[in-house]
């Protein structure tokens, strides 16, 4: 089988783990089964011979019938044997091919987990599912075909031919005349299918991407007046996909009929030959009968072989290429950092002189110093383009800083493995809340599998958000969600905040996730964080959060232009004042009774002072930031 040799690498160890034993057992039983099936017409012929010779035999009708029945009992036993072997062979064959396909699925799935998100994006997210589920399925079919080809084709086609040779050489030679005709048909159609099948698979991919895009972008497509245009595009894709599929199907139908016609002609020739040259005794008639049975087997075998070559081979070649493409995707470099840390009682975070320069030389961050002491809520306030996001990405080690350090309890975070850092050190609540398909409970417990329902509800209560949970009916935690559930940003953000606050971690990083969340919930959140003594860094442009934080760093154009308590910044930092005022609207602080609002903060300050946190320098000690403060102080 030259055909299977090009796929030898699919016998690679990673795909064949635990399959070899199953394969050999399956092959053994398939072999036995085919052998038995091949012998079956011969066995039946014995019964036929008794019948045929009953006229000449000296036995009485009763004796002949007894002889027929006795032989039939033996044949029946043989049929039962075939059944047992058939079931066993099928079981092992199915177990083997499915295991093989599961191995491929697992290889592919795990590969996708090891590549970076941008690599995956470049590859195409929508191709992931087809390659894991469909291509592995096709390869499973391929394995089955290879095994059955190894067993079935030699035994069914060649075995039947051999049996025919044993019965009568001349009949067999006539049967061989079918080979060139069928071969020619194979060749013609295979050339065509080699073109059609890749086109068909491509057409299906395009069509499927279009379906998905049409669903996710349904609203925008309508409003942009593109619904009709896209519907026409879609119709074209459907047409091309259907046409390609039809082309393949027609081939199979033609093959069945072509085989039937060729084999009818062969049957006619064999009969004609028999009549003229090979029909002397009754036995010859019996042989002709058996020969025709073998011919039917060859016809079936040949058609299966045709389908296999013409339809499956080009498809499998494509699957192989598609799988190969995935296996060759570049993986994220091995993460060599620390994978565990001793238990830390008082976690803290320091950002020391961090800089980030884009490849074109412009700086996203310049000399950023931020100190997040244990049990402190520290805010970074800044508008669009201030560098907040970049800072968050550097903290999470999504981006590597050009210079400077991020220290977690004096340990350089670059020495800690990325996954450990993100899993255990930080709880990161980002701006883009994602909802998983599952219940609300699944969503909330995603990073805190041990959290109890009571703990979850307690957090909502602490956040004064019980009314929020009531919006979902009586069974809030069992509320079912999917990726299209129309939840507002505020709802999604709140779910995300609770999810990340529940996660057991050292440092909680909240990055612009407070949008649309009702202020009273945020007040509750801040009180909860304080009560639980959580160490938090809050990247925000919410004035509400800034007011409740122990310290605020003002970030502008990648630089810290001020730091201190909200009240002090309001008094001395023009950037912050402008920023803060804009988040509340152009309204005078006096008008909203600033004193009243800061009463709570003053209490906080006292507490902080008691913990010694107040001794933190009011302003950054770097000369650069001093200048900037000096410049803007009223």
């Amino acid at each position: 089988m030259g055909a299977s040799s090009s796929y030898v690498r699919y016998n690679d160890k990673r795909y064949t783990v635990g399959t070899k034993r199953l394969m050999f057992i399956a092959m053994f039983f398939m072999l036995v089964l085919e052998g038995l099936a091949l012998y079956f017409p011969m066995l039946l012929q014995r019964v036929t011979e008794i019948i045929m010779h009953s006229a000449d035999s000296a036995n009485t009708a009763g004796e002949t019938i007894t002889s027929i029945v006795l032989n039939a009992v033996m044949v029946f036993g043989f049929i039962i044997l075939i059944l047992i072997v058939n079931v066993t062979a099928e079981y092992f064959m199915i177990a083997f091919t499915n295991k093989y396909s599961a191995n491929i699925r697992s290889e592919l799935f795990n590969k996708f987990q090891r590549v970076s998100s941008s690599t995956l994006e470049k590859y195409g997210q929508s191709k992931v599912m087809p390659v894991i589920q469909n291509d592995s399925h096709w390869l499973r079919q391929y394995k089955r075909r290879v095994i059955s080809s190894i067993i079935f084709i030699p035994i069914t086609i060649f075995g039947s031919l051999v049996m025919m040779f044993l019965l009568d050489v001349r009949y067999s030679l006539i049967a061989l005349a079918a080979v060139p005709f069928i071969g020619l048909f194979f060749w013609i159609y295979m050339r065509r299918m080699k073109k059609v099948i890749p086109q068909s698979v491509q057409a299906f991919d395009d069509y499927f991407i279009n379906v998905k895009e049409g669903i996710t972008g349904a609203r925008d497509i309508r409003i942009l007046g593109k619904a009709d245009e896209r519907a026409k595009q879609f119709e074209k894709l459907v047409y091309s996909q259907r046409r390609q599929a039809m082309s393949a199907d027609v081939g199979i139908n033609l093959s069945i009929s072509f085989h039937a016609i060729i084999f009818t002609i062969i049957t006619v020739i064999i009969i004609l030959y028999g009549i003229h040259f090979n029909m002397q005794v009754a036995q010859d008639l019996v042989i002709l009968n058996t020969i025709l049975q073998y011919l039917t087997r060859i016809q079936t075998g040949s058609h299966i072989l045709f389908t296999w070559f013409v339809e499956h081979m080009p498809r499998i070649k494509l699957c192989k290429e598609r799988i190969e493409e995935v296996i060759n995707l570049p993986e994220i470099a091995q993460d060599k950092g620390l994978t565990s840390l001793p238990l830390i009682a008082e976690p803290r975070l320091e950002i020391v002189n961090v800089e980030y320069a884009y490849p074109n030389g412009t700086n996203a961050l310049t000399g950023v110093n931020i100190n997040v002491p244990h049990n402190a809520r520290i805010a970074i306030a800044g508008g669009v383009g201030s560098g907040k996001n970049m800072l968050a990405r550097i903290i999470l080690r999504e981006k590597a800083q050009t210079s400077g350090d991020v220290l977690f309890n004096d340990i350089d975070t670059t020495s800690i493995s990325v996954s450990y850092l993100r899993r255990h050190v930080f709880s990161y609540c980002g701006p883009h809340a994602r909802i998983l398909t599952g219940t609300m409970r699944d969503n909330l417990k995603m990073f805190a599998p041990n959290a109890t329902d009571e703990e979850i509800m307690q957090l909502f209560e602490d956040m004064d958000a019980i009314d929020f949970t009531q919006k979902f009916g009586s069974n809030f935690l069992d509320f079912k969600l999917n990726d299209r559930t129309p939840l507002g940003d505020g709802t999604k953000n709140l779910i995300n905040i609770v999810r990340m606050t529940l996660k057991p971690s050292y440092i909680y990083v909240y990055n612009q996730c407070f949008e649309h969340v009702r202020p009273e919930y945020l007040t509750g959140l801040m009180q909860h964080l304080k009560r639980e003594k959580k160490t938090c860094l809050m990247v925000t442009y919410s004035g509400h959060i800034c007011r409740s934080c122990n310290r605020v760093y003002v970030l502008k154009n990648g630089k810290i232009t001020g730091e201190g308590k909200h009240a002090d910044l309001m008094a001395y930092n023009a950037d912050y004042k402008r920023f803060y005022a804009s988040t509340l609207g152009m309204i005078q602080d006096e008008e909203i009774n600033y004193e009243e609002k800061t009463a709570q903060e003053q209490n906080d300050n006292k507490e902080m002072a008691a913990q010694g946190l107040d001794e933190l320098p009011m302003f950054d000690s770097s000369p650069e930031s001093k200048t900037s403060h000096g410049g803007v102080a009223p």
Binding site: T48, S106, R114, I215, A260, I275
Partner: protein
Amino acid sequence: MIEKKKKKPKNIMRVVATAKPYRGRIISLIFIGIVGIVLFSFMPTFLQNIFDSLEETILDGVNPQFTFIYQQLIIFALLALFNEVFQVIAAIFLLKYENDLQEQSINGIKRKLDVLPISFLNGFATGDLSRRVGGLAGGLYRNTLVVMYRIARTLFFYITSAIAMFNINWILALVVISSLPLCLITAKIVSSRTQKYFDRNNAVILKTFTYIEQKTSLHEFYKIHGIEGAEEEYAEINERELKATTAEEMCMQLNTIYITLIQNFMFLLVTVVFGILFVNRIVPEFGALPAFLVFSNRFLANTVIVTEATNRIQIVNAWAEKVYEIMDHPDTLTQNEHLDVKRIGEIEFEGVSVEVEGDKILRNISFKIQPGTNVAIVGQTGNGKSRVVELLAKLEVPTTGRILIDGVDLQEIRRDSYYKKLGIAFEKPFIFRGTVAENLLYGVRRAMPERVMSVTKKLGSHEFIDQLPEKYETELTADTPLLGISQRQAINIARTVLNGGDLIIFNEAQSTTDTVTEKEVYEKIMAMKKNQTAIFITHRLASIEKCDHIIYLEKGRIVEEGTHQELMKKKGKYYRSFVTS
């Protein structure tokens, strides 16, 4: 469950009914198939005649009747040839009609999706809808036509074969026909016991799909939380799929196994019964044996087709339920459309209420928007602002009340003409496959590529576009990691501004940016626009101070309206919201 089962037979009949325009063609197709099958059924008779003649020659020592044998052989070959020709013609036309119907069905459901209320579509997960449109809608016809064709053919095959067989020998005919109930009963017993394995596998695969879909679409999300590999988790899921698929496939194979068993058994039974009849001279010719062996083989092959067809009916019923769930949903959005709109002038909400499953989302809202003005609709999240936009965008219809555009009910205005005059930027923008420039100009009716950069520069999005690898020519997809959410929103806003139109709506279109930027961008838009009506929906009140009219919504009602100054003076809800946000 019982109720569902009762409904099922209706589904396939509905599918058949929708194929009505093809009725004539399908009937002629079935006729061709039947002619083929009639020819096919009589083939073994001619084979038998040949064998009988040969037997006579050998046993009785008479001269072979060559003319008769040749005649029989020619008829045998011609029947085979015509049968195959008919089969091929029938198969090709079957595929063609099947194809046409599939296309029609897929396009039908796709068009239906385009006119259904968006809230209805949001009840389905993306993967679910993709499967219904991409797989089930087309598959319905493929299966239904095949079932119709095969069942019709097989029925005729049974009838004609029975006639042919009874013509030769009724006892042997009965023996062969007995395989039919034997197979069907066995199939019934096997399928009733194996159904649970099919159900289990379906459920397992659906879960696996959801899992993989989630792991893929949230790839970046998992990475950022340090969740990598998931090898063990997937290994468990994969193992479950392995077990379920193995069990299902084994059940499927049982079908083939018992047919093989019955086939072999029938060979034996036909031979033995023939032997008894032959020995007792009830059947004097040997030729009946090969003929009946062929009949028995074909009978069983057709029985396999029938058992397969019953499986397909079950599939069609299950799929049709999913497809008709969408097709049957009333098309409330476009059913009353009959007018084209030339311009969008005055907009009036006249006692508009929206109620969804008993939940009152909007309660008797009335307001007017004068052409060319800037209007803001504000209020906390969940108070009905977005629903107002969906109504204005013809994505939903009011439960009661009317929306009038220059005095004409919006429900009567054709979508195509209306959307030409409307632009909306939503909070969750969609990025299409194509370059940044193509995205900015997507759906832009008056294409003015040279305006693109001037708009993006004014609105502040030029800077980040300029930093993209290929700037305006950077290729994007829906999930592109190149753009953050605020950047997607910026593209969307620029697209809406470029699009022009008489009415432009910004629905929380800058929710991920800061207030300063939002305010700046909105004020620039107000300054840039000419004679257009602009509606701004936001929860950040500082951004919309300069609007001509502000509507404050709470619990689906308008609680306050007026200019910023008027509302601030009132010191009511707007004021409180403004100072405490």
